[in-house]
Symmetry: C2
Subunit: 708 residues, 2 copies
């Protein structure tokens, strides 16, 4: 579809900065979309020229209208189509004749409604491509470019504001309504936007095009995205890397997280790594701050747009109410954040401002001493309290709970002053309702923003910290010692093959031998040191060995080994599988079990996976994913984020695991995933932790295709 | 402290309905608290008489002031003290001389500030008790009683509203500021209050007093509480039961949930059942709807006050935006709620209103068909969409996401209409910012309320459902077959004693014998059927048997049994413990492990506990608690709520557990907890699930005291 995009086509920048715009379907009735659009565009008067097109011609909202595009005397850079869907094709033909460069189709009734609409959309887009017209939409809410004063959008918020909310937050959205809701909210809390784009059906201009524009746009400092699906994942990931290089934060909300749950599964790993987990892992690895609510995302964008960055999980809490502060403190820990100890110097400074024998967080403004002398660093005692606390090196962020107080305005001013001074995230929880209207206006005018409840503040700080603590991938991620020839074979590989591949990538396995007969099993056992061993069937046709009784554990003498071989033979015969031999491996004492593996996501490619193993797999669903290849820091961060981390730290009297070795194993798995393009899935289950060491004791590899 | 409370003292009802009120510390300066209070009380003019007391006398805000209480010509029912703390004692003396019935002390500077303040508070309260004066406070924000038009509160919201928010939501709060914040929010969203009380230091009138008043108050239909600690837990629980009997919902927010984390622990169970879990269990068992945010609690109260009740977890989602609906759907499942299938009849009705081949949730208003004929049951097509959906028997509640749309007012009106018609919780997520001001006003005027984000709506529905699904305790909770004599002994009981007690309460244990010598161990093994057995040391001094090697598993023959006995003897000698004999028990094959036990909370008494066992104890922290005794329905509900529930349902090829038997075991544990008043702790760890059956294979009981 994109093959026809070439230099002869308009660039995205050109489309978002048209010198002349025609509105096809313009109306004087602002109950109609064509009237609303004209109203918004005239009200916010863009920098270029405007030509309403309406069969009746005449004056529309003070603008000269033309009966048809052909009759319009000027060259038209862009046409905005706000017509019933059955008029769109002929309008496009008119655009083609007029040599219009780009078109925004606001109309709906196309592929989103079914096959009939899709056919019409195809006709329209074929015409557009043949005519060299770039198209945004159809079925979108258009574009707001505050830099160029272009309000080519049907977002009704444009009808309620006199001034465009100019600023440097960019947005690209797969939902027009959510873009509109964010715009309205942004205006209420003092956010400023550079460019907002509603994508619609993305038949030509797509999410990546706009993302790239926003990364390159000097007016945009922070990028927000509402995403339903990712097309061209490679380009998406490249763009995320580019944004990170330019220190331009990307924030995203994605819907459809729950859809992944219902898919059929082939293995434990597959059951845990659906579409959303892969998206999440890719975003996390590439520095995207993820939210599940667009309003929280907006507030997060305001924080980052103000230049604040989060260097740790320690949050100071301020409140005019002991109860309000306590409730926030209660919720912090559950979110992986903490209420820090303040340093001695900070406490000393605060004790001049606050009554009480021991100064600690959360801080209650109600304990403020009366008649405190002015501190030249700050404009008010409240600002001095908040500022001295936020300046503490132990504090990485803050929450100010603003409830109904006599000094609400002072709290609002203090929050703005301190947030700007220290560049640490400081979120105001606005809980004063209409009573605090003046304070709310101060927060808006100061472009400080706010959220309406403690949960929002905590989620935003959690999202910022989750993102900040994730190391970036780097060029030398893959382990240079490992490059291997491509693996031959297709489908399920036998365990012995899988073990050989692991060994080639220096992934430690339990000692093992292959044996063709019970006698060879005995010999292998002796060769392994006559220790307790496991005997498993080797069979090209058998995938789930345990299910048919083809695995025998803890065998310590010849008799039990022979018995085991016999029973395995019988079990395979019964289940109708061919027995190709036996795999004899040393029994490893289990202190804890992990699962480690590779998943190849159809969109995002190979991901390294590590999680709690054994019975915890299903109950804990405690899995970390990261796109391959990964470096050692990424591997360590994955381990750090496991909920089963206590198992690694010397749990229940066991030795702590060699974390460096375990992280290195993940790096090596990442190299394997990265190099072996035809590997579909690797499942090391379990990876046993034993006396601090690690052993893959079972491994399953699935290669792509039926033929090698 | 409460011994002096008698009939000669004023009742709480009398205190909240005074005929005459004096304000000590009244001022004409409404920047001072004494001025604010006078302003609020005159503005909202209570039904009784008002007497400002100020040394200068004269007119204050249009009221005749008196230089002293003594000079006030009338009888005074209540005095409100808004004076510096060092003037409060002499003011109380004046009140005593004037024979004032009750006093609200708004002043702070008492026990909340340290020992000096506490001493002053004691003096004041001694005087109050000696004089028969009931006291609310000190250090509180007073009382709002809209029925009696009594605004004896310094909540600054009173200065911003012209009309009292009359209604039937009651509140009792241990934080004045949070009460004030809820009041302000309530006014913004259309909530109405009956009585709100800020408790302060609760030196006389306490939380239970006000709770009881609100339960008895005919003007109150729903009770909200902000709690920091519970005093007199027995009375608290009795009151909760009384409220439930009268179908008067109680909603609560408690702070200090995280404080329990740091406590030292004696066992797994103790580490999991701190103060918050006990409070939560008691509230849950007694029908309290729990929140972690006062604003969410307020919205929950509005829903319940409107008569809606939640009979299941199935939520319909409505939105004017596909994206907004999808995001809400994504979050529902994580909260234990679900998006149901609509019935055929509903879908048929909706297909007349909504375009699209298949009608399913979430519903997007944007798909509404134009020009739909009027449905006489509803006032608008939007109301018909929402109403027909909410009427579906599969739907237990709803969320309407109101974003910026041309028809916002219609959506708001539809929500009000349908919420009133079906008495199912229908929460509006108001996401239209100032753009939707008219719709917001409609929601307020319709007393529908709203929340500001999807997370709030989901938390409220989750809280309502969590509460609704918990069966009530009943009179015949204890198992009638179990009454037993009091257990003798103190401190740790040996396992053999603990097992006998379990058996007396018909709790199944693994078959076992006591043996005094290795020979007797062999005999016991034979007596148990020569199956694989476990041998453990019996020792009065040894608590953690596994730690010293005093437990040997899976012994199958004489030789290994003798060896085990020898090694146990040596281990105990080495550890310095006396060996009193051996406990031989049948080895039980483990399909899954639970822990079951009893915790005696210092505040709330004995609680039955069940949770995931084995390595899951620490990682999953998956525990359900319920105050003892419990009935079979409560036991079943506890099992239903376990995250490890898949383990019970026939997991990994194992037989499903006999749920009735397991629930009955919990009932029997509850009887044991209830009857044995000196039992401090019972720990059945593990309770093994084996082929669908259950066996306590280790048990530890701790009795109170050093002496029997």
């Amino acid at each position: 579809m994109n093959t026809m995009k070439g230099t002869e086509f308009a660039s995205i920048r050109e489309i978002l900065h048209p010198r002349s715009v025609a509105i096809l379907g313009a109306s004087k009735d602002n109950k109609k979309w064509g009237g609303r659009l004209l109203q918004y565009m005239t009200r916010h008067r863009h920098d270029g020229k405007l030509y309403p097109i309406n069969p009746k011609g005449g004056q529309l909202m003070g603008e000269q209208a033309y009966p048809s595009l052909a009759e319009c005397p000027a060259e038209i850079d862009m046409a905005v189509l706000v017509l019933p869907s059955h008029h769109v094709l002929s309008a496009m033909e008119a655009c083609a004749r007029k040599k219009v460069r780009s078109v925004i189709i606001l109309s709906s009734g196309f592929s989103e409604t079914g096959e009939k609409g899709a056919a019409l959309e195809r006709q329209i887009m074929d015409l557009a491509r043949a005519s060299g017209i770039r198209v945004l939409g159809p079925n979108c809410m258009g574009v707001l470019n505050t830099q160029h004063r272009l309000a080519a959008t049907t977002a009704i918020t444009m009808g309620y504001v006199d001034e465009l909310p100019v600023g440097s937050i960019g947005m690209v959205s797969q939902s027009g309504a959510l873009m509109g809701a964010m715009l309205a909210r942004g205006i209420d809390v003092g956010a400023g936007f550079s460019t907002m784009v509603s994508l619609g059906n993305q038949n030509d201009i797509d999410q990546n095009d706009i993302l790239e524009y926003l990364i390159d746009d000097p007016a945009t400092q922070v990028i927000t995205m509402y995403i339903e699906a990712v097309k061209e994942a490679d380009r998406f990931v490249c763009l995320l890397k580019k944004a990170r290089q330019q220190d331009k934060p990307v924030l995203a909300v994605k819907s459809g997280r729950s859809a992944s749950g219902g898919k059929a599964v082939m293995s434990h790993t597959a059951s845990l790594a659906g579409a959303w987990p892969a998206f999440e892992a890719v975003c996390r690895a590439n520095g995207v701050v993820l939210f599940d609510d667009v309003y929280d995302m907006l507030e997060g964008a305001m924080v980052l747009n103000g230049g604040a960055r989060m260097a740790g999980p320690n949050i100071a809490v301020f409140s005019g109410s002991g109860g309000g502060g306590a409730l926030i403190a209660d919720s912090l820990e559950e979110a992986g954040l903490a209420l820090p100890q303040l340093g001695d110097a900070t406490r000393q400074k605060l004790s001049a401002l606050i009554a009480g024998s021991e100064i600690s967080l959360p801080i209650d403004f109600a304990a403020m001493k009366p008649g405190v002398p002015a501190d030249p660093t700050f404009t008010s005692p409240i600002a001095a309290i908040v500022g001295n606390t936020m300046a503490d090196a132990n504090v990485n962020g803050g929450i100010v709970y603003l409830s109904t107080l006599p000094y609400m305005e002072e709290v609002a001013l203090a929050a703005i002053e301190v947030a700007q001074a220290y560049k640490k995230p400081l979120i105001v929880v606005y809980g004063a309702s209409s009573v605090g209207e003046k304070a709310r206006q101060i927060l808006k005018d100061g472009r400080q923003g706010f959220v309406n409840n403690q949960a929002g503040a905590i989620k935003i700080l959690q999202a910022l910290w989750n993102c900040a603590r994730m190391p970036a991938p780097d060029a030398d991620a893959a382990d240079p010692a490992t490059p291997q020839a491509p693996i031959a074979g297709s489908g399920f590989l036998p365990e012995s093959e899988s073990r050989k591949i692991l060994e080639a990538y220096r992934i430690p396995t339990s000692p093992w031998r292959l044996a063709g007969s019970p006698d060879e099993v005995i010999a292998a056992w002796k060769d392994l040191g006559s220790v307790a061993v496991v005997v498993k069937a080797v069979s090209a046709t058998l995938v789930h060995k345990s299910d048919v009784g083809a695995v025998r554990l803890n065998l310590k003498n010849e008799e039990s080994l022979r018995q085991a071989c016999l029973s395995i033979e019988q079990a395979l015969q019964l289940a109708g599988h061919r027995l190709d031999g036996f795999l004899v491996s040393t029994m490893i004492k289990t202190d804890a079990e992990l699962i480690v593996g590779i998943q190849r996501d159809p969109v995002f490619g190979p991901l390294v996976m590590v999680g709690a193993g054994g019975i915890l797999v299903e109950l804990l669903k405690d899995v970390q994913l990261c796109p391959a290849p990964i470096n050692i820091k990424q591997a360590e961060a994955m381990l750090e984020r496991l909920r089963c981390k206590p198992m690694l730290d010397g749990w229940r009297g066991a030795a702590p695991v060699d974390k460096r070795k375990l992280a290195m194993l993940l790096v090596q798995v990442g190299s394997l995933a990265h190099e072996q393009k035809h590997l579909e899935e690797l499942d090391i289950n379990p990876l046993i932790i034993s006396d601090g060491d690690i052993y893959a004791v079972d491994a399953r590899i699935i290669m792509a295709g039926r033929e090698p």
